[in-house]
């Protein structure tokens, strides 16, 4: 990474850490000012994070979507932005700020352990499908991760004696909506990837590890949606479902860096 990107990214990391600590202190000690400061630090961190991504984009000449570092950089930003959008619509979800900040920090930490060389776009990525495929991939990933966090917040909230049923209901609905939105984005991601693959490799499906795990994750969330919306699972069961289902998607997006069969390899 270059100096500008590095400075912006480390400033963002510092703000995420501050957001995490302040929001956590606010939640545990019912310190309103600390909680508000933690919530306010998150959008600032995301703004710096975005600028770091733009700096990298300018330096490499392409969107940061190619290797493990760039995917961590972009994916974690989507998680934060989707959470901000949710918190704006449903203020009850703001209590999840420490968990979201922690998730973003973990993802960035994973990326920062990887090589961050500035390299041009490889031949397979030179396609109009890249934008569609990757944007929807990160929308799906971000939605699923935030749905799991909100599910966890629901579980934490309802175990308290003074739990507010209305607030709990909104968290439950928010988690369900995020799963549904993520599933739609996931569908577009898989479909666009398949169509792209046919033009690139002459076949739309090859059962490579990423494809296989994308399908597994999609099926997991398909079952999740049917349990919630067809069989009427709500409350604790649905929240546990949202938390448990995220495993598949984390394996798809991050476990894949541990195998050698690269999804986009050509040469």
């Amino acid at each position: 990474m270059n100096a500008v990107e590095g400075a912006l990214l480390w400033a963002a990391v510092a703000l995420y850490a501050a957001s995490f600590v302040l929001a956590l202190v606010g939640s545990i000690f019912h310190a309103g000012r600390a909680g508000r400061a933690g919530a306010a630090a998150l959008p600032s961190a995301l703004a710096l994070h975005l600028l770091a991504g733009v700096a990298r984009w300018i330096a490499t000449g392409h969107a940061p979507v190619m290797d493990a570092y760039e995917n961590s950089l972009t994916g974690s930003w989507f998680v934060g932005v989707i959470f901000l959008a949710l918190a704006w619509r449903i203020p009850a979800a703001r209590a999840a700020t420490p968990a979201v900040a922690a998730a973003v920090l973990l993802m960035l930490g994973n990326g920062l352990m990887m090589p961050a060389r500035l390299v041009p776009l490889e031949p397979p990525f030179r396609s109009g499908w890249l934008v569609v495929h990757v944007t929807f991939a990160w929308l799906a990933f971000g939605s699923y991760v935030v749905a799991a966090i909100v599910g966890g917040l629901y579980l934490w909230h309802v175990r308290r004696a003074e739990a507010d049923a209305r607030r709990a209901g909104l968290l439950d609905d928010a988690s369900g909506r995020l799963v549904a939105f993520g599933f739609a984005a996931d569908t577009v991601m898989i479909a666009s990837g398949a169509i792209w693959a046919h033009g690139l490799w002459g076949r739309y499906w090859a059962w490579d590890p990423i494809e296989t795990w994308s399908l597994v994750s999609w099926l997991i969330y398909g079952v999740n949606l049917h349990l919630r919306f067809t069989l009427g699972w709500r409350g604790r069961r649905a929240a546990w479902l949202a938390v448990g289902s995220v495993v598949g998607i984390v394996v798809t997006f991050f476990g894949i860096q541990f195998v050698s069969d690269v999804h986009t390899e050509l040469l």
């Binding site: 776009l121 369900g176 939105f181 169509i195 490799w201 076949r203 059962w207 296989t212 195998v259």
Partner: protein
Amino acid sequence: MAALAIVLGLGSTGRAPAWLVPRTAASSVWFLALTAYLCAALVASIVLRVRTWARLRRLGHVSSERFRVERTLVMAGAGATAEARLREAVAAQGYAPRGAAAGILRASRGDLGFAGSIAFHAGLLLVLGGVAVSSLTRLGGELLLAEGHPAALEAASFVTLDGAGRLPAPDGTRVGIRDFIAEYSESGTPVDFAAVMTFERPGAPPRERLVRVNQGATFAGLQFTLQRYGFAPALEAVDERGRTRLDAVGLLSLLPPGREDSLPLEGGGTLRVSLYPDHARGGGRSVSRSLRPARPVLHFAWVEPGGRVAAEGEVAEGASVTVGGRTVRFERLAYFAGVVVARDRGLWLLIAGSLFGALGLGLRLAYPDQSLRAEWEPCAEGTRVRLTASTRFFPAMYEQTVERLVAALREDATPA
């Protein structure tokens, strides 16, 4: 983490039992049976949804929502005025009236959501249909084409081929490449490669198409896609008795530069070759400064049967070198390209199914089934209205929606 890597690597690393490898499992009988069962379940699901929806419509119910929200409010004015205002407010929220009765208004929204649900499941059926058509009719294989050496479009020319019987009958058509170019970044990474593909069919004018990564060509209903490339030096090897043991174009690996490949010699033995496309000497040995063929030099080792290295040396493009009586001529350097040839009639079903599915999910998400029943009766303050709103999904959020409806009526109403 190792366990994770093994699980993730199914299908690629060979560390899992064959029946667990996704590519193998997907073509097994039980997987096909599972797919057939899924198709049957999807058809049943669609039929059941449509029948339930039609039955409820016939009975006058708007839908079978699971959660209810009830509110009572008093509107100023007589019944007719209140009804008109109520209808206006309900319509503004996107509800369509469903049947009329004295003192009762039924309305619902979300028909598009229902249509979306059906479209999504129908889309899945189309996708599965596309997969079935692909597995029955797909043709896919790879041709390795060196510049200036076209190949016949027939099964024997392919290095890999699935569905050989689906290849068009040989009619003398030849395919080739010329004017191959590869572009590299400043750091030497390949960033693009392209070539002109030629198609020559006896009795027809030749056709040419530019092909590059992600941009294939179509000929005779087949898709031709550039997949990989490497160097193709024209080589001649003559032994100490003057016998030509090799006169061919070698297909050599591109990466890393200097990687050793073996070419078989007539009568046994091999010629081991390493190509340095942009040759230089570094640390007493040959290296390549880049992948650009600026100064190609070939390092060779002549290995006789039994493994004895009979001659070893380096030869530049356009030159020949004799070592120990054995001569190696490196006539010229060209490129070769791996071209994937495919025809998949299931693709269009897959695309259509994907479009249906994505559109259907979008509609389902944007327009959830919701219904409303308003009953009113005169009271001392004006008209008492009891709203019963119901939904299948997201009850807490829907409660907020109903409250917005009540707020819209609030100008004329006071909550009771």
